[in-house]
């Protein structure tokens, strides 16, 4: 390759490499809060992607009550307000060697001093975990925690 062509090629490669590194530095956290009840047969169409998983909870009705996506840097905390004065703190800590996103998750509720749930877990990229069981407005909350990062 001629030198005049080699220089822009190297520059473009470095630029591309830098872009990929930056893209991988962010994690998108996806929190969806579903209200599940047995009072009707309604199924919110916005939840169709996770219908198989929700069906395992054996409720008759599922409605998406809140949805939030946030892009954060590794190690940075993101807080999500949830129905009923609850909130969720999520910190993506690392991208593990087996291609999983490690998260620290805390669910807080009411005025109790200790978090209701304090957990360390890892999910695969584009994967999810559910935190469920708290009562809200005659139903049960199912919180889907998902995370995505550029590989």
């Amino acid at each position: 390759m001629k030198r005049s062509r080699l220089v822009p090629f190297c520059f473009a490669s470095v630029l591309l490499g830098t872009f990929q590194a930056i893209a991988g530095e962010m994690v998108e956290l996806r929190i969806e809060t579903v209200l599940a009840t047995d009072s009707s047969k309604e199924f919110d169409d916005r939840l169709r992607d996770i219908r198989p998983q929700l069906n395992e909870f054996r409720f008759s009705s599922y409605r998406l009550v809140q949805e939030e996506r946030r892009r954060v840097n590794w190690g940075k905390q993101a807080d999500f307000s949830l129905p009923g004065g609850r909130f969720l703190q999520v910190v993506p800590t690392e991208y593990t060697t087996d291609a999983r996103i490690a998260l620290k998750v805390m669910l807080m509720e009411g005025t109790t001093p200790t978090p209701l749930v304090d957990t360390r877990l890892s999910i695969r990229n584009h994967g999810m975990v559910f935190v469920a069981g708290r009562r809200h407005q005659g139903g049960t909350l199912i919180i889907r925690i998902g995370a995505v990062t550029d590989e």
Binding site: D79, P113, L116, V117, D118, R120, F130, G133
Partner: protein
Amino acid sequence: MNTCPRSERVVALFHDDELDSPLRREVASHVAGCVVCTRTLAAFERVQELVAQAVSEQLEESDFSNFWEGVASRIDQQAPPSWRLWLQLWRERLRPAWMPGTPVWVATTAALLVTTVLVFHPPAKDSPLPLPDPAPTVLAANDQAQIESLSSTATVFLWNEQEGNATVIWVGDDYEGDRP
């Protein structure tokens, strides 16, 4: 007594700057309009001020002029034992030039020890293989998620849904026992 569902927990995090910006803004505007939370925040601030003041008063009266000397003398007291100094002296000054250095002695002694052990205690033919390093503790795992640690003030159940391939952390309310 007046209470506010946001008080205490969130206000403490707000006071300690432990909320990210969207929730921080939300809580700031809530506190500005809530008497209970304003009072809670003021109490946190006062406690912080008093504790910091009490410690800094005592700190101001502390004498640091000989602090380093105190540290240095403690380090010297923790200096290596005399046998190590003698060994060093032997190695650097007294050892005759024809004598081998430490690595040679160590290697020779290790070889002799291994040979002795092999001669007197030959390995059994069915000796087990060394155990692999234990895997990190995982409370629940499937293709989707692995729960590595979990603590909760409520009753918690963990399970994996095989069909939907989902991991669930079920946080029970005290008054219900029907699910999961």
